[in-house]
Amino acid sequence: MEPIVITGIGVVSAIGIGKAATLESLRSQRTGIGPMRFLKTSHREFPVGEVKLSDDEMKQRLGITAEPTTRTALMGMLAMQEALEESNLLTSHPSYPIALVSGTTVGGMDKSEQYYLDYLDNDTRNDYIRTHDCGTTTQLMADHFGLFTMATSVSTACSSAANAIILGANLIRSRQTEMAVVGGAECITKFHLNGFNSLMILDHDQCRPFDADRAGLNLGEGAAWLVIETAESARRRGAKVIARLSGFGNACDAFHQTASSDDGEGAFLAMQKALKMADLQPQDINYVNAHGTGTPNNDASESQALLRLFGSTLPPISSTKGMTGHTTSASGSVEAAICLLALQHSLVPANYGWSRPMENGIKPVCEVLTDYPLQHVMCNSFGFGGNDSSMIFSRL
């Protein structure tokens, strides 16, 4: 595959606003999960990984005063600013096409869940009706920067951002664009907090991915973007190349809407496709950032898929959701950003929250590994509905 390179990264999550803060949290194994501060809900008993900024604080940082806007869009803009800055696209952007592919599922639900009865009943909140859907969130972000010649939104629950990265890469491979900003954004809403609670998959304590006593996930929120382009485009612009997207794969578990299959077939196939595209063998992978939500089901299923793929020689594996929480639609890109920081800084993030090995499961890396050179890193994102995706990032 012709090289697709990454020239910019932006990330906002519970473990930091921006790459530097995120890296610092990874180095010091500091979790961003804790008591709720911003979400207005009666279920304050659940630990969550909130971005440590209110909507107003985010608006201030972005220089936005107008409404309507949504928390998801604001987070997205903050992270996008960082990515575009690093890729030198804020001050001078090329005259050729740039695509935006954004993964989100809740869209403007943070507003709709406050105003739904008004939408039905009166005209006081009409401005927010148009912000309800996913596409409008992408539009709000696109309009803020005014750079894009194509924009679309992926919505595959927890693998949305990963699938956004995949479409962006395919648009580049097929020469429909030379450059794309890809990733996703999602804020915590009452809607999906209660939704996950009704499915009884939230942990009342700090989550413990791949732990024998794991009891569910902690919701998180965040946004992350990668600027991806052809090597030729980066060369022409003099953009600094960070790493390569060397392979990716998308497969469907086709088992159940909210549970993964026992043998992790969809996950296995997605990882296998990614390896094939990257022209790599399982033993070439130096680190896997697992989906690892901390639910009994996911971690068991994903373990099987990993064991099937890697056999007896597993690479270091960790889930970073013990620190960021499950950032749902943004997780594919938040974790891609973490993988890229890992590659750049020779660091393997810890699987925070783990203490006891699960039966028939993988044993994750439980202390951060530093000065650990990495060549190829795999990043997994598995969504409800069996929408499974895997990406491989490589050093140049």
């Binding site: 009704s198 499915l199 009884m200 159940h256 809407q257 909210t258």
Partner: protein, 85 residues
């Protein structure tokens, strides 16, 4: 107990939207999950909500559902023992 069993069958049909099923189609002892009616984990969650709504019983652990919802008989016994409404 007869009354409770019939009540539960009607609620199962309503809550799970089993359009073509009548109470008399559900045998008291027949397995509800896997074979028999072929219900799944989501149906179990809906039944947990139903138990709370109609009988005031709060089930915290979803895996407890396996035993409780084995059949209409086991459900009725459980409700009888734990109902607060």
């Amino acid at each position: 107990m007869e009354e409770l069993i019939l009540e539960l069958k009607k609620q199962i049909i309503e809550v799970l939207n089993l359009e073509d099923v009548q109470p008399e189609d559900i045998e008291n002892d027949a397995p509800l999950f896997g074979e028999g009616l072929g219900l799944d984990s989501i149906d179990a969650l809906e039944l947990i909500v139903m138990l709370e709504k109609n009988y005031g019983i709060k089930i915290k652990d979803p895996s407890a559902g396996k035993e409780i919802f084995k059949s209409v008989n086991t459900m009725a016994a459980f409700v009888s023992d734990h109902r607060t409404k």
